[in-house]
């Protein structure tokens, strides 16, 4: 134990804040300024963007800070909460845990892309009616995970909804109302498609 410096211990246990007592090796002011960057093509909510991104930027950062799509939230920036959930090629992912360069050539859907032609998605309608959001900070993520779930399982059971959304934490603890909302939206969608058929 005594051989491990306190700094290394802090980092090693994952408890470290941004905290060091010695400068990082090989880090010079110049090197820091010349950050590697790459041009990527992203299709976001149907619009194609060509962007020059720093390689260290996350997808969440690009969406929020560079495309102005602030509906996706950053609750932890480390893949633990789900507030940043978006659909990447239709699959729900944590956008804080994807580098923007990895999304090159791919399709992203965010909460801003849910409503179509000014009409709210049935999930959004149900979230309003069943009081899904309390503080609302987890809501965009809950919506996107719910969207991914209903896309591949249009008739989920209560337990399937819970499982499908379990990567989305709600500290306001409104899980019951979120699950109710998703089941209600699934019922609406089913009724709609019966009407159309």
């Amino acid at each position: 134990m005594s051989k491990i410096s306190r700094r290394r211990f802090v980092e090693g246990t994952g408890a470290g804040l941004v905290a060091t007592t010695v400068p990082l090796q090989g880090q010079t002011a110049k090197a820091a300024a010349a950050v590697p960057h790459t041009t990527v093509k992203l299709t976001v909510n149907g619009t194609v963007h060509r962007l020059d991104v720093e390689d260290r930027w996350t997808l969440a950062e690009v969406l929020r800070d560079h495309l102005g799509l602030t509906g996706s939230k950053i609750g932890c920036d480390r893949g633990e909460c789900g507030a940043c959930t978006v659909l990447l090629d239709g699959k729900n992912v944590y956008s804080c845990s994807q580098l923007a360069v990895w999304a090159d050539g791919r399709t992203v859907q965010t909460v801003e892309g849910l409503a179509q032609n000014g009409k709210l998605d049935p999930l959004q309608e149900a979230f309003i009616e069943h009081d899904g959001p309390q503080c609302g900070f987890c809501t965009s993520g809950q919506l996107m995970s719910a969207k991914a779930l209903l896309n591949h399982n249009p008739h989920p059971t209560t337990d399937e909804v819970r499982a499908g959304m379990t990567g989305n934490i709600c500290r306001c603890g409104n899980y019951n109302h979120y699950v109710e909302s998703v089941l209600a939206a699934a019922a609406t969608l089913a009724a709609d498609s019966r009407r159309k058929a």
Binding site: A15, A32, E112, I169
Partner: protein, 701 residues
């Protein structure tokens, strides 16, 4: 209870559409032109003196615009400690996470990098983590004057409450029960991390910040930065939760303001999730020692509590341990020692003094009931409070109904059995617990402008931390004015546009600001009758600073009883909550839809507190080990049972339409009811929160 037109009907939030379309703008979503980003460097040591800070490499990094440390910034954060001087940057540093420096730079990556380039030479000091150790002679002194945090009068003695004579009460008992309980430091873990933007316009400061109270944040930022109040503006349009850790002013707001001043540009400061867990505050950990005297017929004769609360190194909260007041009993003594330690700072988290204290006393009372061969429900009905401290009558009390009707809805008789009965490996059990919470009236304000088009512009200083306060205020205004909800336009969350509000803490908004709304609406109606309706560009304005006289000879409280059923796998120690009923007397419920969300949320948070949450420390190094959502094992969709909500709407003569407090009572009896259910299932008690698998397997072994 009479039915009202608008109040009392389930109503979707007036801002719900914004919340589901990503268009609700939170502080972190804002960007100002030329804005810099700030990051904080923190102590890696639980206790250390700073010998030297070398900023040269950080200052040389292109893009770095300003750096603050204790050497160039002596701002005192008044709300950070109610007893000692707590600076924004302290020397010595007193816990892992204490702020050492803050850097503003052109982007967040540069700011972050700059913090890594700051070299700090620390002289490491001895540290202490547990309150009882901190009070021993020879323990490292964390604050001048000793580790027992002084009372408001400056006396180094425990907080005390007494009635009757405890020795007499214990002598009068047929049996005396004694036990000890503990609860850990846990984090508020609201989903929105800390972020503020400070902008100076000449000598006027605007701070965008996710606060639970724009008014107190405003007064306190002005105080701490020595500015005239009119030179400060606080704006919060949407905020992502706080549960007690975003009330008053905070260090990050002050840091942003000072950095912005030095850099001559707006500054957005962001804390990481880890910083939010370690460097802000969480619920105070406690150790509780009880003695209870009881007669053979189940009548209580004495309750004694000696408790220790770990405050971290700064006194940011009271450290109180509440719960024994839910019992009537002639002889009571409570001594609580709020103590400095080198752990993370402790202060308010939803029902600050309560769920951990109620866990202690309700665990013990459950054991007393069993020992006397009484049904725990009957025992509580016999001994529950009838007057506050057996002396002061309540304005209304629905506790008995909460217990009786809650038990009925829960099917208590069917689910409850002798402790440990039933064959394994998966055992079921039922438990309950009760609680109370002050719902007193107090000062708040509201302004209503009526325009010629018939729209009522309601200005209230709320921020709506998730409770639905904006909607609640609008419903109250619509009801009193006798107009449809759509006629009410709510203006909130901006000290330039809104009058004083009490702040969304102590669950006071509905009762206090709601009362001001009622008074303002009444005033406006009087004016309309006198002056007629406004024409053209005229406005008819009602301004009310309501300051209801304190109740004398009466106490106003909310009451609650929760019932939980669990399944315990005796082979793995895994617990699943299978049924949950929450019965609440919060007077008239203004909006049953959002109120239900509150109860579900509070109960869920309480279940997490019962089973999962604890900030662990390595004893040898003083390092926190599991900061973050995974580490805290915050409850997820899969862990959460259906919570059934039962309203016991007592008629209360005070408050807006008789509404009482709700937000905080929702968590109070939750950990205790789960703990009691586990005991009922396995016939063994775990006295230390959280009740983890290892502890369950431990008591079963």
């Amino acid at each position: 209870m009479n039915t009202l037109k608008t109040v009392g009907h389930p109503t979707s939030r007036i801002d719900a559409e914004k919340r589901v379309t990503g268009t609700a703008t939170y502080t972190g979503d804002l960007r100002l032109p030329g804005m810099l980003y700030a990051r904080v460097l923190r102590s890696p040591h639980p206790h250390a003196r700073i010998r030297r800070i070398d900023l040269s490499r950080a200052q040389a990094l292109p893009g770095v615009k300003a750096i603050l440390t204790h050497e160039n910034c002596d701002v005192i954060w008044g709300s950070g400690d109610m007893r000692n001087k707590r600076y924004l940057f302290n020397d010595p540093v007193r816990f892992v996470g204490d702020a050492v420096a803050a850097v503003a730079a052109t982007d967040r990556h540069t700011a972050e990098e700059a913090t890594r380039l700051i070299a700090v030479d620390y002289e490491v000091l001895p540290f202490v983590l547990e309150p009882e150790d901190a009070l021993k002679p020879g323990a490292p002194e964390i604050q001048p004057g000793g580790n027992l945090s002084p009372t408001a009068r400056g006396a180094h003695e425990p907080e005390q409450y007494r009635r009757g004579n405890i020795d007499e009460g214990l002598r009068a008992a047929d049996r005396v029960f004694e036990d000890q309980y503990s609860s850990p430091h846990i984090n508020n873990a609201q989903l929105e991390p800390r972020v503020a933007i400070a902008q100076w316009d000449g000598d006027r400061l605007t701070v965008h910040t996710p606060t639970q109270g724009i008014s107190n944040c405003h007064t306190e930022i002005a105080r701490d930065l020595k500015l005239a109040p009119e030179k400060v503006r606080i704006i919060c349009q949407f905020m992502g939760g706080g549960f007690g850790n975003k009330n008053q002013d905070h260090d990050f707001e002050l840091m942003a303001a000072v950095l912005a001043q030095q850099a001559g540009a707006p500054v957005k400061i962001e804390f990481t999730r880890k910083e939010d867990f370690l460097a802000v505050h969480g619920r105070w950990p406690t150790k509780q020692y009880y003695k209870v005297g009881v007669r053979n017929d189940g009548t209580l004769t004495a309750i004694q509590l000696r408790g220790y609360s770990g405050m971290g190194p700064y006194r940011k909260g009271t450290g109180g341990i509440a719960g024994i007041e839910i019992y009537q009993c002639p002889h009571v003594e409570r001594l609580v020692y709020p103590t400095y330690t080198n752990k993370a700072v402790s202060a308010n988290l939803r029902g600050p003094d309560f769920p951990q204290g109620v866990f202690g006393i309700e665990s013990l009372m459950d054991d007393v009931a069993y020992a006397l061969k009484m049904d725990p429900v009957e025992f509580r009905l016999k001994n529950m409070t009838r007057k506050l401290n057996d002396q002061i009558p309540y304005t209304s009390i629905g506790l008995e109904d909460c217990i009786r009707r809650g038990a009925e809805a829960f099917e208590w008789r069917k689910r409850w059995h002798a402790p440990g009965e039933g064959s394994g490996p998966v055992k079921r059990g039922a438990g309950m617990a009760m609680g109370s919470f002050s719902s007193s009236m107090g000062r708040s304000s509201a302004v209503i402008d009526l325009d010629a088009r018939g729209t009522y512009h309601l200005h209230v200083g709320v921020t709506d931390i998730g409770t639905g306060a904006k909607t609640t205020m609008a419903l109250i205004a619509a009801e009193e004015l006798g107009v449809p909800l759509e006629k009410i336009d709510v203006i909130w969350g901006d000290t330039d546009r809104c009058p004083f509000s009490v702040g969304e803490s102590g669950s006071r908004t509905t009762t206090q600001t709601g009362w001001a709304v009622v008074e303002a609406a009444k005033d406006l109606k009087r004016q309309m009758a006198e002056k007629g309706l406004p024409q053209g560009n005229q406005l008819l304005t009602a301004t009310v600073n309501a300051n209801p006289a304190p109740l004398t000879g009466q106490a106003r409280y909310s009451f609650v009883a929760h019932f939980a059923e669990v399944e315990v796998d005796t082979e793995t120690g895994h617990v699943r909550v299978t049924k949950y009923v929450a019965a609440h007397d919060s007077g008239r419920i203004v909006n049953p839809l959002t109120a239900e969300s509150q109860v579900k949320g509070g109960a869920t948070m309480g279940i997490g507190m019962a089973l999962h949450e604890e900030l662990l420390y390595d004893r040898a190094s003083g390092q926190p080990l599991n900061a973050g959502y995974y580490g805290a094992r915050i409850l997820t969709h899969l862990d959460t049972p259906e919570v059934d909500v039962l309203w016991i709407q007592t008629e209360d003569p005070y408050g807006p339409f008789g509404a009482k407090t709700l937000g905080e009572p929702t968590i109070i009896p939750s950990p205790a009811s789960v703990g009691n259910a586990i005991h009922n299932a396995i016939g063994k008690r775990v006295n230390d929160l959280p009740i983890t698998r290892e502890k369950i397997l431990g008591v079963l072994a």
